[in-house]
Structure formats: structure tokens, C-alpha cells
């Protein structure tokens, strides 16, 4: 029996291969994800481990509380001498770490696409503390010298002796490249860059006179790191802390590990979706082959094969396909890892990589996932094969007996759909559940919903095909009409084929609609808040920037320039965004929707007042007159009084939950920076006015000026890269479903060989044959697209509803949906190429005599 099944498989190579391809892609995605994220993780690990290779203890500054962004405050460099003086310290060096962007040869800032543009001030006198390795030149010495990273040097064509611009705080300054370096054994640090200076240079550049950001210390022979830490601890001033180097590396790795873990699960989710779609394809293919082999199974039964053996033979077939596909997918994943990385890079997520990591876990998870999915998909067809009675061997035109359950199938589909919906709603709307439960509910609910909809979509095939087949009849004539009939012949087959595509399109539509909603919400929120002609933000739209540009802008005649300071702070103990606003000018550029107080209340900010956003006011039970305690990261405490409560659009609040006067902000926050600068111009925005403002910004790299509408558009566009990334990843599932269409068509062509022979005999041309197959494919694809888009819209409605309180609007991107439908048509055409060619090439005579 095993022999029969394997020989059968070998005899249906094409079908087996096409079936396997459906799984290969999903498995490759999984294995590729593991390989890529393992590689990234290893690179980060080596970064941190190597960074502290020769270090036993690390002293850093310590803020009043740790914020999500921002560096710990620097401390006095006198600490270094104290540490050095300790008996067990063998050696110690101080260092500066900050951020500084480099320029390319044209003098423009090199974008790190969200990755850090690192800057170090290092003491190279002690080799053991230095994690960087020179690849050319020498370490910097003196105020004009810098060492840059090898990646930037390669990419921008810089060599030792060249001049390069460095933008730290303020305008670009020129340095001479004294050397080029890399991080230990790490191949690439992604799109991150670094610039290295000697310590005095860094102190001046970053405005940290007589200060350090860190001290690395090595213990004398025989002194344990912890012992060293214990020794350093007592001599440290307030605002500093000490840790063993191991602990420091671990802390750093942990943050990164959380990040790579997120990327891993994110990508795995798409691998999972591709596998899920693959399962549909496999289920359908096996169902069709089982139906086509009724005679064969019956014959096996007449010669004494048991039901069990028939079952076993189909399961074995699935097992072999699954195993082969998984192994192929596993190795394809090695290639795909590179592809995934370039996808991430092109969407601005360029992460460091080291040598490729191919872990045992990758092998195990990929193979198990691939095999299990294939087996699960194969069970139903296998069970169906067992129901073939021996008598079918002698009956003309024997077909599969209907399942005992088939009359319940609409109910099963309905129950499945309802169950999926229930889970989905639970995940979206239930209160008091964790994020894991929420995502789990939504994810599982979606999958079950897809299965349910696929279950009764067979009933929708006829009506959908008659409508969607109309263009085929119009343009394809008789071939088109036959294509439409063919697509309705086997509603279950067409439905299952279309369902695979439906899943991909549902998710793509969902993403597109949600994205459109987010864009509109952002646009709406900006419209409601901003009342300025121009807005200045940093190039990446979110990094706070030096407020020095405000003065330059204000020098342009006829302008009112209002910088909005912003940072993290603690308000009554909870961490919040705190903004510093100009009480006299803010109302002319920002529209407040007052709940308590009015624009007049703003004047009172100047003497210890604050305004708060309504949601925060509600949470903290604040109203006008309530006292509020604000604490900055460096420990400064402010006591303010609430002077007004306003309502901001929840999705895109441009001010922090707490706003104080700019003066108070500047006095209490370290290194105050602007989130935005709003500019009103007398006479409104004009091309001339814009030129004058642009000219004023010439010395301030890293920020951009936009009209209000341009600003709104660029804020809305900022989800573009993420959206594209999602599209690309979901495209994978669409490709898998296309294999499904190819598969079904090939099997149908094979099944209808005689019919094709007859059609050719009575005058169907090869072109008409191809056209007929192509239209059938397009109709199937359109059914999938329509079902998918409706489902996607439905899911988007649900999610928007769930996010209503966050201010997310429901908005349908009509153009996108039309494009998706067009893509589905093209995809259908592409899927038909191979089957159509096969059908057209059939020899008429042989086809006519085909049994």
C-alpha cells in the first residue's frame, strides 16, 4: 500500500510539485524569519558583549526616572579621578556618548532612517576599553578630527584625510577624517552611523563641559567585578550609578532582544498567514485529486484494501508532500532571509547583521509547521477517499459519494463563522483583557472566520460568477461564456480556490482601509489643532530639534514664530508628555477646544500655571484650580496649578497632556528641544514668504519647513513605509493563493481533456482555448477578490469601531480597492498562463480518445 501511494505520487509529479509549492513559501517565510532575526540578535549581542569586553564595571549618569527615550544625564568628570584612585581599580577611562549626524559629499545629512546616528568621545589611551577597531587611519586627536564608521565610509566614498560635516547640536561643522573604524566583529550596523571624537572635542561639541556620560573601569587581578562595583558605589555622587559590565550588557541586550522579538513575531505572523493560505490550497488540491481518483480507490478496495489503508495512502501522500516541501522551504528560507532583510531595509529598518545563524530551532519549527499544516489540510480529503465504495470501480462515471455530514455543512459553516466572529468581537471589545489575549482573540477569530466564510462561499459561487463573469462573456465571446459556465461547474472547487485568495485580499483591504482611516484621522486632527501657516519639524517628523532656529525664523519680517518645547516628564507620578508653550502666542497658532477655561486662561500660565488635556484631567480628577506636581527627568520638581482643561483629538494630540509655560519648561528641563515650531505670517502663506523662511533655516540642518497642508500630508504619509511593508508581506499569501489557482486550473484541464478535444474538433481555436482558461481564472480570482474585499471592509469597520475612542475614523480608499481588484484580475491572468498553454497544446485526437 505504501508503494502504491508513493508510486502514485511519482506519477503525478506536476500536481505534487504545485501542491508542495503552496507550502514551500510559508515555510520559507518562517525559516527566513528565524534566520534573519537570529542573525540580527547575534549582531546586537556581539555589539554589546564586545563593547564591554575589557571592562568590569560601568559608571553612568542616572536620571530621576528612566524615560522611554533620551540619554541619562552626564555627570562631573571629577568622578573619573576618584574611581581611578580606588585601590582595586587597575585602569579606568571616561567617555561621552551622544548623537550626531554625518553629511554626504554633497553636504546633505545622511539619513539613518530611524536608526541612531551615534557619536562617541573616547579615550584611546587604554586599548582594552575600546570596542572599536580601526580599519584605516588613526584615532582622532584634537578638535578638528573625527573617525567615522566603515559602512558610511564605504557608502559615501569617504577616505582618511577627507573632510566631512557633522551635525551635533546646531549647525553643521566640518571635521577631517583621521580614521575609519568598525564595531569589533559586526559586519554591518545597518543604517546606523557613528562618529568618534577625542573627549575634549566631544565635550565641546555636545555642550558637556567638564562632564562625562560614562566611565569604564577594569579591576586588578583577582578582584571580582561585583567587588569592584561595591567599592565604587560609595564614592559616587548623586545622579550616577555603577553596574558590572555584564549587567550593563545584559540590560542593553534586553531592550534590543525585545525589539528583535517583536520583529520576529511580526514576520512570523505573515509566515503563518501564508501557511494558512497554503493549507487551503493543499486541501483543495488533495480534494480534487481524490475526486479524480475515485476509480482508482474503488479498484484498490475491490482487490482487498481496507478503508484504513486507503486513508493511510492519502495521508502518506500528504506527509511526503509536506515533508519535502518543508525541507525545501527551510533552505529557501536562507535565501528569503536576505530578501526579508532587504525588504526591511527598503522600508527604513536597516539592522545590524553578523554571520548567518541557522539554529536547530529554525529547522524544527519550520519542518514541524510545514508538515503539520499539510497533514491537517489532508485529513478531510483522505477521509473522503475512504468513502469510495468498491462498486465505483465498475460504475460508469462514478463520483465521490456525498458525505454523511454534507447536509449539515451549511450549519457547520455558519457555526464556524459565528464562532470566529464571537472570538473577534471578544478580542476587540472585551474589557479588562491583556494584550496577548486580545491579539490572540482577534487572530484566531479572523482565521476561524475565514474558514467559516470559505465554508459557505460555495453557495455564493453561482451568483458571483454570473455577475463577475459578465465582462468575460462580453469580451471573450463563446470562450468567455464557457469560462463562466466552467467556473460554476464545481462550486466547491471554485470556492476553495477563491477562498485562498480571499484571505490575502481581506487582510490587504483591511490594512488599506485602516491606513486610510488613520491618515484621515491625522489630517482631521491636525486641521482641528493647527492654525498656523507653516510648521517646522525635524526631517524624520518626530525627533525633537534644537530651538535655536526659532530666532532665525522670527527675524523674517511679518512672522509670528511659536516653538513648542516637549519632553517626557512625570505629572502627579505618571509619565506623560510635557510641553512648554508661549502663553502669549500659542492661541494664535493652536486652536484650543476648551472644556474649562478659555484662551484668556493661557495668560496665567506664566505664573506657575498649567493646562491639561481632558482625558488626563479625568484620569487624575483635575479641574481648574487643582494643584499638579511635574517632575523632569533630571529631578527638578515643579508645582503648578491647573488653569484650563481642553480637549484634543485623541488620535493625534500635538501638545502633551500637560503644558506649562515655555519659560518654566526651559528653566526646569535639561537641554530643552522643540517638537514643532508653528509660524503665522501676516498675509498668509506665499511663495515669497516661504523662500524667506527657507533661507532662514539654511544653517539648521535636520529640520524642514512645510505649509500647514504640506505638514499634514507628510504626517499622514509617515505611515506609508509601514503600509508598504505590510503590503509586501501580505503579497506573499496572495502568491501562495495564485499557486492554488494554477493548481486547480491544471487539474481541471486534465479532467476536461476529452471535452477540450471535442471543443477543438468542433472549431475552437487555440486562442479561444487559452482565452477560456484565462477567463475562468480571472472569474475565480475576482470571486476571491470580492469576498476578500467585503470581509476586509467588514473587519476594518469592526476595528475602527473598537478604536473609536482613540479617534480613528472609518474611511474607504476607493482608489486602492479598485487597484486591488485590478491586481486580482492581472493575478488571475498570470495564474492562467501555464494551464492555458497546456490546454491549448493538447493534441485534438489524443484528447478526444482520452479516458
Amino acid at each position: 500500500m505504501i508503494g502504491v501511494s508513493l508510486k502514485g505520487l511519482a506519477g503525478r509529479k506536476l500536481r505534487a510539485t504545485l501542491t508542495a509549492l503552496a507550502i514551500v513559501l510559508g515555510v520559507a517565510m518562517i525559516s527566513g524569519t528565524y534566520v534573519l532575526t537570529d542573525t540580527i540578535e547575534k549582531a546586537f549581542d556581539s555589539l554589546f558583549v564586545e563593547a564591554y569586553a575589557g571592562t568590569d564595571a560601568v559608571v553612568t549618569g542616572k536620571g530621576a526616572f528612566e524615560t522611554d527615550f533620551g540619554l541619562p544625564p552626564p555627570f562631573d568628570e571629577g568622578v573619573l579621578a576618584d574611581v581611578k584612585a580606588l585601590p582595586d581599580v587597575e585602569a579606568a577611562v571616561g567617555g561621552i556618548s551622544d548623537f550626531a549626524q554625518l553629511t554626504d559629499k554633497q553636504g546633505d545629512l545622511i539619513s539613518t532612517q530611524g536608526a541612531p546616528a551615534l557619536a562617541f568621545g573616547i579615550d584611546t589611551s587604554e586599548e582594552r576599553f575600546n570596542a572599536l577597531k580601526l580599519t584605516a587611519g588613526a584615532w582622532p586627536s584634537g578638535p578638528g578630527e573625527v573617525v567615522i564608521d566603515a559602512g558610511t565610509a564605504d557608502q559615501e566614498g569617504y577616505g582618511v584625510g577627507d573632510t566631512i560635516g557633522v551635525a551635533a547640536e546646531g549647525p553643521i561643522r566640518e571635521f577631517t577624517i583621521s580614521g575609519i573604524a568598525k564595531f569589533g566583529s559586526v559586519d554591518s550596523i545597518g543604517s546606523a552611523t557613528f562618529a568618534v571624537f577625542d573627549i575634549p572635542t566631544a565635550q565641546t561639541l555636545f555642550d558637556k563641559p567638564g562632564q562625562l556620560d560614562g566611565i569604564q573601569a577594569a579591576a586588578k587581578e583577582g578582584v571580582a567585578p561585583q567587588q569592584l562595583v561595591d567599592e565604587i558605589q560609595p564614592i559616587l555622587p548623586v545622579g550616577t550609578e555603577v553596574q558590572t559590565a555584564d549587567q550593563e550588557a545584559k540590560d542593553a541586550t534586553k531592550d534590543v532582544a525585545d525589539f528583535t522579538k517583536f520583529i520576529r513575531y511580526f514576520l512570523l505572523a505573515f509566515g503563518g498567514i501564508a501557511l494558512f493560505v497554503g493549507a487551503f490550497v493543499i486541501f483543495n488540491t488533495l480534494s480534487i485529486t481524490v475526486a479524480q481518483r475515485v476509480r482508482e480507490f474503488a479498484t484498490l478496495r475491490t482487490i482487498g484494501a481496507s478503508r484504513r489503508q486507503v486513508l493511510g495512502s492519502v495521508i502518506l501522500e500528504a506527509l511526503v508532500i509536506g515533508l519535502v516541501a518543508s525541507v525545501v522551504g527551510l533552505f529557501a528560507g536562507l535565501g528569503l532571509a536576505k530578501g526579508l532583510n532587504s525588504v526591511l531595509v527598503s522600508f527604513g529598518l536597516d539592522l545590524p547583521t553578523a554571520g548567518i545563524v541557522f539554529a536547530g530551532r529554525t529547522v524544527a519549527v519550520s519542518v514541524v509547521a510545514g508538515v503539520v499544516i499539510t497533514l491537517v489540510a489532508g485529513i478531510l480529503p483522505a477521509v473522503r477517499a475512504t468513502r469510495v465504495p468498491p462498486i465505483a470501480a465498475v460504475r460508469e462515471g462514478a463520483t465521490l459519494p456525498r458525505s454523511r455530514f454534507s447536509r449539515f455543512s451549511p450549519y457547520i459553516a455558519a457555526i464556524t463563522t459565528v464562532l470566529g466572529l464571537a472570538l473577534l468581537l471578544y478580542g476587540m471589545f472585551a474589557d479588562d483583557i491583556g494584550i496577548g489575549q486580545r491579539l490572540g482573540g482577534i487572530g484566531a477569530g479572523c482565521l476561524i472566520l475565514f474558514v467559516g466564510v470559505a465554508g459557505f462561499s460555495a453557495r455564493l459561487v453561482r451568483p458571483l460568477a454570473s455577475v463577475l463573469g459578465w465582462p468575460a462573456v462580453r469580451v471573450g465571446g463563446a470562450a468567455g461564456r464557457l469560462a463562466r459556465e466552467n467556473s460554476m461547474r464545481n462550486p466547491h472547487r471554485t470556492a476553495a480556490t477563491a477562498a485562498a485568495l480571499m484571505i490575502g485580499l481581506a487582510l490587504i483591504t483591511f490594512v488599506a482601509v485602516l491606513a486610510q482611516g488613520l491618515r484621515d484621522s491625522v489630517g482631521d486632527a491636525i486641521d482641528r489643532q493647527v492654525n498656523a501657516d507653516y510648521v517646522v519639524v525635524s526631517d524624520d517628523n518626530f525627533t525633537p530639534f534644537e530651538p535655536a532656529s526659532d530666532a532665525a525664523l522670527a527675524a523674517v519680517p511679518g512672522t509670528e514664530v511659536v516653538g513648542i518645547r516637549g519632553d517626557r516628564g512625570r505629572a502627579n507620578g505618571t509619565e506623560e508628555n510635557v510641553t512648554g508653550i508661549d502663553p502669549a502666542a500659542i492661541a494664535s497658532v493652536y486652536d484650543f477646544d476648551w472644556v474649562e477655561g478659555s484662551d484668556e486662561s493661557l495668560a496665567s500660565l506664566a505664573d506657575g500655571g498649567a493646562i491639561v488635556e481632558q482625558s488626563f484631567a479625568d484620569d487624575e480628577a483635575l479641574s481648574v484650580g487643582s494643584p499638579l506636581r511635574v517632575e523632569t527627568p533630571n529631578g527638578t520638581q515643579l508645582s503648578v496649578e491647573v488653569k484650563g482643561v481642553y480637549k484634543a483629538p485623541p488620535f493625534w494630540e500635538m501638545l502633551g497632556n500637560v503644558s506649562i509655560s515655555r519659560e518654566a519648561f526651559d528653566a526646569s528641563f535639561q537641554d530643552p528641544k522643540n517638537l514643532y515650531t508653528f509660524i503665522s505670517v501676516t498675509g498668509g502663506a506665499t511663495a515669497g514668504g516661504e523662500r524667506a523662511l527657507e533661507a532662514a533655516l539654511v544653517d539648521f540642518p535636520g529640520v524642514k519647513l512645510d505649509t500647514k497642508s504640506g505638514f499634514s500630508k507628510s504626517q499622514q504619509d509617515s505611515i506609508g513605509p509601514l503600509l508598504n511593508l505590510l503590503y509586501v508581506l501580505l503579497a506573499l499569501s496572495v502568491i501562495v493563493s495564485l499557486f492554488g489557482i494554477v493548481n486547480t486550473l491544471v487539474l481541471s484541464v486534465f479532467e476536461r481533456t476529452r471535452e477540450l478535444g471535442m471543443l477543438r474538433a468542433v472549431g475552437m481555436t487555440r486562442r479561444q482555448v487559452r482565452r477560456m482558461i484565462r477567463h475562468e481564472s480571472v472569474i475565480t480570482a475576482m470571486i476571491g477578490a470580492v469576498l476578500g474585499m467585503v470581509l476586509g471592509l467588514f473587519l476594518a469597520v469592526l476595528v475602527t469601531q473598537a478604536l473609536k475612542d482613540e479617534g480613528v475614523i472609518f474611511s474607504v480608499p476607493v482608489v486602492n480597492l479598485v487597484v486591488f481588484a485590478a491586481i486580482a484580475v492581472l493575478a488571475g491572468m498570470a495564474a492562467a498562463i501555464f494551464p492555458a498553454r497546456r490546454a491549448a497544446r493538447l493534441n485534438v485526437l489524443e484528447a478526444l480518445q482520452y479516458e
Binding site: 465571446g477 463563446a478 470562450a479 461564456r481 464557457l482 459556465e485 466552467n486 460554476m488 461547474r489 476529452r754 471535452e755 478535444g757 471535442m758 471543443l759 477543438r760 474538433a761 468542433v762 472549431g763 475552437m764 481555436t765 487555440r766 479561444q768 485534438v844 485526437l845 478526444l848
Partner: protein
Amino acid sequence: METMAEGDSIGATRAARGVVSASGVTRRFGEGDTAVDALRGVTLDVPRGQFTAVMGPSGSGKSTLMHILAGLDRPTAGEVSIDGIDITRMGDQELTLLRRNHIGFIFQFFNLLPMLTAAENITLPLDLAGTKPDKAWVEEIVAKVGLGDRRAHRPSELSGGQQQRVAIARALISKPTVLFADEPTGNLDSTTGEEILHLLRDSVDTYGQTTLMVTHEPRAAAMADRILFLADGLIVRDAGKSTASEVLAAMNELRR
């Protein structure tokens, strides 16, 4: 592009010669030791409006001959012309158009499209050609084959005889120059078979439909105007109208 009128005009100018003619047709299957010569030099000429039956023992090459005459297969050597046009060197596209306009087929296994109704199956060749069916003609054909009340049924709802009637109507609908039938009654019981044969005879008499039919049954052959006996890939006898018993006798002679 391709119209009935074109076919008719060609037919008119070449009417002098046979509507189907073959000369020195051979067909070899396979190569070397295992090669089979299915036809070994067949020459024949079928005049317009004739009902010709082809008989012979199993494996004598009947089907092969018919396939070659109909342009479904190519001879290894020799020439075939339909309506005076050499078809042996035609490409696939030309052959398809030839089949569309000049040739009708009736198969042993009916070969109807299961998802189309009887009426749709009948007009299929016209649909493929993109020509509008002449309503009166369709009505006439449907009435002639006796399917008036069954036209909206699908093949699975029709008996074998009814299915073959649909197939005959489908073959006649485009007024083909020649109608080929390979054992059209082979899959039917004798009464039904008889009806089908009468239908074929009728179409020859009423429309002058040139018809070439391969058959095993003497009673079927007796309906024809002319009977060709094939043995071992050669025409061994070319008889005129014969009775069933004459045909049987001739067959028995051949077997000897």
C-alpha cells in the same frame, strides 16, 4: 472573418471533383520494430451528397482513415483534400477554421458539454465562430432531430439517444461540407441506434449532406449509398448500396 459564404463559394467552384478525396494516404504509428502501418495507401473520392459507410475488422484502420480525412491527424504520406483544398499541409489555425466551417463530427461517446443545455450545445460551433445562429435554421434542426421539448435540458438529464441527437444537431448546425461519424450508434441500443441512422439518412436526403460514417454494424452500413471495406489499412472493396445481408456476407468474406 470566416463565413459560411466563403465555404460555399469554394465548394461551388470545385464541385467537379469529390468533396472529400484522398490519394495514396499512408499512416505509420511508431518507429522501427514496433511500427504499425494503420493505413497503407488509401485512395478514395467521395462525391457531394453521398452517404458513405466505412466497414472493416477491428484494427483495420477505419478510425485512422476518418481522423486523417477530417484533418484531426496527418498522413505519413499522401494527400487529402476537402472541397478541393489540400488540408495535409495546413497549420493548426487553418485546420481549426476548416473544422469550424467545413466539417461536422459525431462521436461514439456524444461528447457534449455537461454544463450547457441541449440548445446551447447545438449552437456551440456557431458561438465559437462568433456567428449569430439563424433562428429558423436552428428551429428546423432542433425539430428535425426531434428535441423540441428537450432543448433546455442538460446532457445529464438526457438519454443516450437524445444526447446523440443533440450531437447530430450540433454537427449539422453549421451546414458542414462533410459530416464524419465514428460508430455513432456504438454506444446505443439497437432501436435507438436505428432512429439515429434514420436521422442521418434523412439529413443526406433532405439537405444533400455529404456524410462519412465508420461502423461495425451491417444494418447501419445498409443505410448508406456506398460502402467501403477496409482491411489491414487498404480499401479492399468499394460497394454500392447493399442490403444488410450482403454487407454481412462481404464482412465474413473479409474475415476469411
